[in-house]
């Protein structure tokens, strides 16, 4: 609750300060200060309860997991601000508004981490998405950016329609917008078959499609590369990480709350095998994300496709819907966001986003290159980086579902494919000669930030419980 309120307030403050304050440097400090205050407030709430008490009529349900996701998202944003706030100021003349919009997006996400009602899901998703449309098109004169914004907007609003239809149908089927229970304690599978009505199942499938779009899971991924490529890099970084995690949390809460009904292998009244459905989505996502990422020339576009591939792995949480999946989603969120924020921060310093643009970076900027290696290895899922445990948990949770060994094997094969394109960056940085052109002088603070980020990733790669312990205490 603290987070939602504070983020909204800071959003307004940013908005007003952009109208009242002329010095652009100030925005950055306000933003960083705001995010840190929110982070502290959220952390305080995790242990001691909210600062204000409001009767929420069960619209929101605050759980340990929700707080943890909030913390992760706020922390990622704090890191993101520290690494990239200069870039935000460089996008256009309205830096203050960009920060405000980011705060609003975060506000939406923090609703998504604790919703217990489809209304809140809808609102959260929209509060999250609408500012993003603006951020995507924030470079007014850039035709690519315009195009990306228009595409994102049209498809996004189309999805909104689909999602609403889903919600309406679920409402018709169940008579309530309330989710059935919390998601941290996923109900144990009951032996008796529980039927979902036709409306209910159709609604869930539509929601699957809509939320699949938001997390860019195949076959609803088609917008992702274009939008990520067209948007200003600094916002691509934000969209591909924090926003995606937020959408995943929402996705997960929805299905986890109904895990009991979904886990019935063949839902007799309609005949939907949810496991198979998710398995197909996962395989498609991994296939499309990885294979197309292999053929990209631009690193930014590669990262866009790879984020689809990573979404495929995160979808495992939805496939298995068990305790391990929750933990896995937590870890994956951390590992994936941190690493992607890091790699984007490095990418943004370069003029040329193609692989060749990275040639010889190790010689010119050893710190950037070395930290980039850590980020890339984490994305690949090599042990000793947080990415490994993230993948580990996802695979482990999927293996607990009997009869889907093939899915896990397919997934690891694609993980190996992902090594191909991630390592191409490493190869360019370390094994090829070249003179990379940089956008701007690289500050010592920036380097220090990168090193700290890399250190966190390595630390979590050895002791993932530093994060997971917050789930249970």
């Amino acid at each position: 609750m603290n987070a939602i309120i504070l983020l909204a307030i800071f959003g307004v403050i940013m908005m007003l300060s952009s109208a009242f304050i002329k010095r652009r440097r100030t925005y950055k400090y306000i933003a960083i200060g705001g995010i840190i205050i929110t982070l502290i407030a959220n952390f305080y709430e995790t242990y001691n309860g909210a600062l204000v008490n409001i009767d929420l009529h069960d619209l929101l349900l605050f759980t340990q997991t929700g707080y943890l996701f909030n913390t992760i998202i706020l922390l990622s944003t704090a890191i993101y601000f520290m690494l990239s706030s200069d870039e935000i100021g460089r996008v256009g003349s309205n830096a203050g508004e960009y920060f405000a919009l980011i705060f609003f997006v975060l506000c939406g996400i923090s609703v998504l981490t604790c919703y217990n009602n489809l209304l809140m899901l809808f609102l959260g998703i929209e509060i999250m998405s609408i500012p993003l449309y603006i951020l995507t098109g924030s470079e007014k004169r850039n035709l690519k950016g315009n195009e990306a914004a228009l595409k994102y907007f049209l498809m996004g609003s189309f999805t909104t329609g689909v999602m609403l239809m889903g919600i309406a149908l679920i409402y018709g089927g169940t008579g309530t917008f309330q989710l059935t229970g919390g998601y941290t304690d996923i109900p144990p599978m009951t032996s008796g078959v529980k039927y979902m009505s036709f409306f209910d199942v159709t609604g869930m499938i539509l929601l699957l499609a809509a939320l699949g779009f938001k997390v860019s899971a195949a076959p609803f991924h088609f917008w992702t590369p274009d939008v990520y490529d067209g948007a200003p890099s600094v916002f691509t970084s934000f969209m591909a990480t924090i926003v995606k995690v937020g959408a995943f949390v929402a996705f997960y809460i929805l299905f986890a709350a109904r895990a009991n009904e979904l886990s019935v292998q063949w839902n007799a009244s309609v005949g939907i095998n949810w496991h198979m459905l998710f398995a197909v989505v996962i395989v498609l996502t991994l296939l499309i994300g990885n294979i197309t990422a292999v053929f990209q020339y631009s690193v930014k576009r590669m990262l866009a496709y790879s984020s689809i591939a990573q979404a495929g792995f995160m979808m495992f949480a939805l496939f298995s819907l068990n305790k391990m999946a929750t933990e896995g989603l937590v870890l994956y969120s951390v590992a994936y966001s941190f690493a992607t924020i890091g790699i984007f921060a490095v990418l943004m310093k370069l003029k040329d986003y193609s692989y060749d643009g990275f040639n010889g970076l190790a010689k010119k900027e050893p710190v950037l290159a070395a930290t980039a290696i850590v980020f890339l290895l984490s994305l690949t899922g090599i042990p000793l980086t947080a990415g490994f445990f993230a993948k580990y948990y996802m695979l482990a949770s999927a293996l607990q579902v009997p009869g889907y060994m093939w899915l896990v094997i397919v997934a690891v094969i694609f993980a190996a494919v992902s090594a191909y394109y991630y390592f191409r960056v490493i190869q360019a940085m370390y094994f090829k000669d070249g003179e990379p052109e940089l956008n701007s002088e690289i500050k010592t603070t920036f380097k220090a930030g990168l090193i700290i980020l890399a250190a966190i990733i390595l630390l979590l790669g050895i002791f993932p419980q530093y994060v997971l312990n917050y789930l249970y205490f």
């Binding site: 042990p383 190996a416 997971l468």
Partner: protein
């Protein structure tokens, strides 16, 4: 204090990254490698099974536990002894950014140490991957023309293997009654036939790729040819032993039934591999390629012996792991000495080296004889025991496999004849004898060869407990 075995190489590796001066790095690293060897000997000197453990991931049941039984001790010793030999043998090589080179060498060593010592499967997996990454960098940064592709092929093969291994580990982990990653609880698993088969193949592929066994070997020759010779020596001398070690450690004890079930297929594959590799070795003109394929052939014999599942075979493998490691390092040092001096490793361009470099010629002859496994060299005892094991399983296999001995003799003697004897040409005219470093290393190796050829008991005694345990079930 088994930690020291891993910790010191790690610290040395990290430290060396920051040393800029070339001659300083060389001297330091040679010195450190000797220190590590001494510490290893000191640590492992106490009899019996050594064991230490610490908390690591309590929620997953993974511990940082290290155990040194006979096989582990033997392989640690091999690992520890190989490094000073290699460093001495290639002392005259100059590398760009030599600090990083030696650092990565030590990190590889640390990873391999960890693999041999880990008593916890997850920890094992960690080190398994950790050994891979620095090796990958070694190969792609300092190797030959096609180093990047070669190293990447090597990496991807191994990575796919290890990901399958990861699935296998998780799969078995979910079956353990006490949710523990301890090797002991894996070994005590009571699995159904189907579970055994699934697990068997998942584990087998990972290790078979590393060894490599016949159809999965294709990464190896290229990687050996393209890597810098010092790295190749580490790869073939020690790293492939990781695969063999893991086969003996996991596949045989945990999946005994499946091993019985599939041993014929695997052994035939291994034997075909032996013949295939030997034939290619005969036809090859490149010294490195030749040694690479000869190594594949030797490993094939070991694989066949392992899967014969006979006690003499296992003893032979234990012995041969150490011997092959030493011998092949010797061969690489010679190849390196020739290449460094003459700038070529084409057999057709060489000749008459014995006149110009008599010491090298004598020492190489000893290596070559060991490679052919003539009596009185160390390899003889190992090969004899292994063929004994294969023979006990199937006479026909033993007969076909024995053809390889003839083929080995053909190509090994071919080298001696065409490289060291015959007439000198314009190139070899200017050759001179090997330097002190090479000589020291080779003399040490020759001593090992002769000593163990006459008296293999120390190694056999050392590993006896492992073999006994293997056949106790």
């Amino acid at each position: 204090m088994l930690y020291l075995l891993i910790l010191i190489p790690v610290l040395a590796g990290i430290g060396l990254f920051f040393v800029k001066d070339r001659s300083a790095t060389k001297a330091t690293s040679l010195f450190v490698s000797v220190i590590i060897f001494l510490i290893t000997v000191w640590q492992l000197a106490s009899p019996g099974v050594l064991h230490t453990e610490a908390e690591w991931l309590p929620m997953m049941g993974a511990k940082f536990s290290l155990t040194a039984d006979g096989m582990a001790k033997m392989l640690c010793l091999l690992n520890a002894v190989s490094m000073p030999l290699i460093l001495a043998g290639t002392y005259n090589n100059n590398y760009r950014r030599s600090g990083s080179f030696y650092a990565l060498m030590f990190l590889t060593q640390a990873g391999m140490m960890g693999v041999f010592l880990a008593a916890d499967v997850l920890l094992f997996y960690f080190f398994w991957e950790l050994a891979l990454i620095p090796a990958y960098f070694l190969a792609s940064m300092w190797g030959g023309e096609k180093r990047i592709q070669a190293a990447f092929k090597f990496f991807v093969y191994t990575f796919i293997g290890s990901l399958l291994l990861l699935i296998g580990i998780i799969y078995l982990y979910t079956k353990t009654p006490d949710n523990s990653f301890a090797i002991a609880s894996f070994a005590n698993l009571d699995l159904s036939v189907r579970e055994q088969n699934v697990g068997f193949w998942l584990f087998f592929f990972a290790f078979a790729i590393k060894m490599p066994i016949f159809p999965l070997h294709t990464w190896q020759p290229l990687a050996y040819q393209q890597s810098p010779t010092a790295a190749t020596a580490v790869l073939s001398g020690v790293m492939v032993k990781m695969g063999i070690y893991a086969m003996l450690r996991f596949v045989l004890p945990v999946f005994a039934t499946s091993t019985d079930h599939f041993q014929n297929i695997i052994m035939w594959a291994a034997i075909i591999g032996i013949l295939y590799a030997s034939l290619i070795a005969i036809r090859s003109n490149d010294l490195k390629k030749l040694v690479a394929y000869s190594s594949i052939a030797h490993i094939g014999v070991m694989a066949a012996a392992i899967f014969s599942y006979q006690k003499p075979g296992a003893e032979g493998v234990m012995l041969q792991m150490f011997n092959h490691g030493i011998n092949v390092i010797g061969l690489w040092i010679v190849v390196n000495a020739i290449e460094q001096q003459l700038g070529t490793r084409k057999i057709s361009e060489l000749g008459g080296l014995a006149q110009k470099a008599p010491t090298l010629a004598i020492l190489f002859t000893i290596m070559a004889l060991a490679n052919v496994s003539l009596p009185l060299t160390n390899a003889f005892v190992g090969e004899f025991l292994m063929f004994n094991g294969i023979f006990r399983h199937s006479m026909w296999m033993a007969i076909v496999a024995c053809i390889s001995i003839i083929l080995v003799a053909v190509y090994t003697l071919n080298i001696i004849q065409n490289v060291f004897y015959g007439t000198t040409n314009a190139l070899t005219e200017k050759a001179h004898d090997s330097n002190a470093g090479v000589n020291t290393a080779l003399i040490c190796i020759a001593l090992f060869i002769l000593l163990l050829g006459v008296y293999p008991e120390p190694i056999l005694n050392l590993t006896r407990d492992t073999v006994t345990a293997l056949f106790a079930r």
